[in-house]
Symmetry: C2
Subunit: 437 residues, 2 copies
Amino acid sequence: MLIHSAGQLLTISGSSQRGHALGDLGIIENGAVLIEDDLIVAVGPSDEMCAIYAGEETLDASGRVVMPGLVDPHTHAVWAGDRAAEFEMRIQGKTYLEIMLAGGGIASTVRKTRSASLDDLLAETRPRLRRMFAHGTTTAEVKSGYGLEIETEIKMLEAILALDAEGPIELAPTFLGAHAIPPEYKVHPHGYTDLICNEMLPAIKEWAVSRRQWAGDRSQSPTTNNQLTDLPFTDVFCETGAFSLEQSRQILETARDLGFPLKIHADEFDNLGGAALAAELGAVSADHLVVTSEEDITALGASSTVAVSLPCTPFGLAEGSYTPAKDFLDANCLLAIATDINPGTAWCESMQFTITLACRYLRLTPAQAIVAATLNAAAAIGRADRIGSLDPGKQADLLILDVPDYRHLGYRIGGNLVQTVIKKGIVYTLYPLPSNS
Amino acid sequence: MLIHSAGQLLTISGSSQRGHALGDLGIIENGAVLIEDDLIVAVGPSDEMCAIYAGEETLDASGRVVMPGLVDPHTHAVWAGDRAAEFEMRIQGKTYLEIMLAGGGIASTVRKTRSASLDDLLAETRPRLRRMFAHGTTTAEVKSGYGLEIETEIKMLEAILALDAEGPIELAPTFLGAHAIPPEYKVHPHGYTDLICNEMLPAIKEWAVSRRQWAGDRSQSPTTNNQLTDLPFTDVFCETGAFSLEQSRQILETARDLGFPLKIHADEFDNLGGAALAAELGAVSADHLVVTSEEDITALGASSTVAVSLPCTPFGLAEGSYTPAKDFLDANCLLAIATDINPGTAWCESMQFTITLACRYLRLTPAQAIVAATLNAAAAIGRADRIGSLDPGKQADLLILDVPDYRHLGYRIGGNLVQTVIKKGIVYTLYPLPSNS
């Protein structure tokens, strides 16, 4: 199938974009993409492509923008229940303690996720993933972390695998047992770190190896979800009130030694040194990065670790502090953005809205934000070799936006510009406007 | 037709809500609404309603929220062209002057709107209105103001009437000849004020009276768009660099004497006294209100003028200052919110996103923001007697939201929670999730 755009074709061709090189969209005006099955076969100017591939079925995207599917590299999309009441309390000025005492906070999501069956969890999560897909996210990372005990953590990972198998959105799993200290360990939090290292990580590895449907058989297929590794990412929330730098190191080093690829939540509220730890350990990404120190930014810039900014979270909390993106670009970092969708601080299903925020509060240009949400986001989940750009050999994950210029991403606020999502070569038509039934 | 909700039915019954009385949703748990043709006939608990109206066709909204359609009382939705390039320049730190010199700013929209045909204008605006409708806006005010000369101003008003007639979204027209000083009057801006008063307003009145399709025939129908008045609103941008307080008074008093209902843009950047002028002249609304003085807030609170906050505009500009909503509630004001959709500062088609902002930056609770976006928004366009709540006799404009609790409006960020829009009794099903074509 030949997708022909008489508007802008954003190829974002080449390697992940570092520092101020961020924002090279590789635009072909009047470009076309040839897809065969689930892969991109050729990209080039429409007139040449149409001459070479004259017999192909054609999808006309005249006057529209064609670009790679959006990649959301940091989500907590699997959970049970909601925290709408807690949101209202927060707006009314209630303190964190008052919210806790009223049964709110992450503990409430942990309680509901523990008591949900796998089927409940799938039913609650499915509409979220569909809306993410409808807003143009073709691949997303999803974390466990509302179990904080082995059984529920594995139930969450099972949910991620099952939803990935359902599609159309493709999911990359992360084990985040170190999301918070569970209530039963409040009196001896070090015990929970030991539990993660001594029992949970080995059990997750054993479980992962046993899941042949994704660790084994599917790795033989060109559409496997796991060309990076057989194991999910291991992630730690390195923050005051969660895991200290020392505990984070203990967990991440144990995970690394077991063969897990690494991620970290760092510097959302306090600078504990998590970003430098990520760089030192060769983590795939370090995420949040609001109050990162200059040295830690420098360390990230000298590493292969992708810096992932999550602007929906300070927005969700109505806080004024965002990732100082310019400092990260000055330090030659690989910068990506993600929704951080979660039931507490940021129930946002739209990477388009994340781009809107990144332009305003990270001061990224639309072009920079788009690369941060595609190719660099793919790098943040270790998949830049397979998704994130329109290059021959990559997976056929594309969007057709109903706009004449890519800068409408960022410029426009709170809507959905996607007209068509193409995932692994399959065409999904979206956003049919109101129909009178 | 009986719409049955096993979840929350938000009636928002009663009069517009002043001061801290804002936020009374009149919730009926397990409520139902009976619609006949385009009107609401009865509202009550489902069990009673189902018993009384047993033979009626039923629409099941089990577990979902049913509420009045959203009303957007301040938009500039009709324009030609876009300003995506200007947005990028702004992000890159270019000054207002540099943007002007590059051909940007409101002058660029005026140029394109002047040169667009009526058909062009309809074709460019129609998708915006459809997306607004898809996000739950069942009625919107729309302003002229990109003509700044009589011919184009009337072309814009003709576009508003034509698009209103097309439906399904219902539009209330406003004449905003006093939006900016047109380039040809930069050397003698007072001359433009005189032109508005001496030539444009009389011409707009003559045109309006001649438009029997809305000023005459349709006023006989229960679904007329003009039960308020035969004339559109007259609005003035009272701001440094636009129209002074004295010029604003001259224009609004002339309009009032001709029988126009009044609106004003006041206190977006500078406090010139426009809000108190609105209160004094009995304007239907005063809009923006970011830097309003205490005296002016007090004057609004003692008047029937609705205070309309436009949080998408400071958000769009990434500015930190929003309407101090608490001060307006303390002063017993009627508070409403609107998108201010326009091609320069805030291309936002979603009143849902406006609610999301209002909760975070105006510190309204979800309940307060919802009333500000329905019943009080209807009052801000003089239509609270006909729309904005689910009361028998009002127009059958309703939404079914795919959420279990109304607080998901506000809590959730950047998506679309609407499942069904009912406009004048006609059911529109929305947001079918991705379909594989």
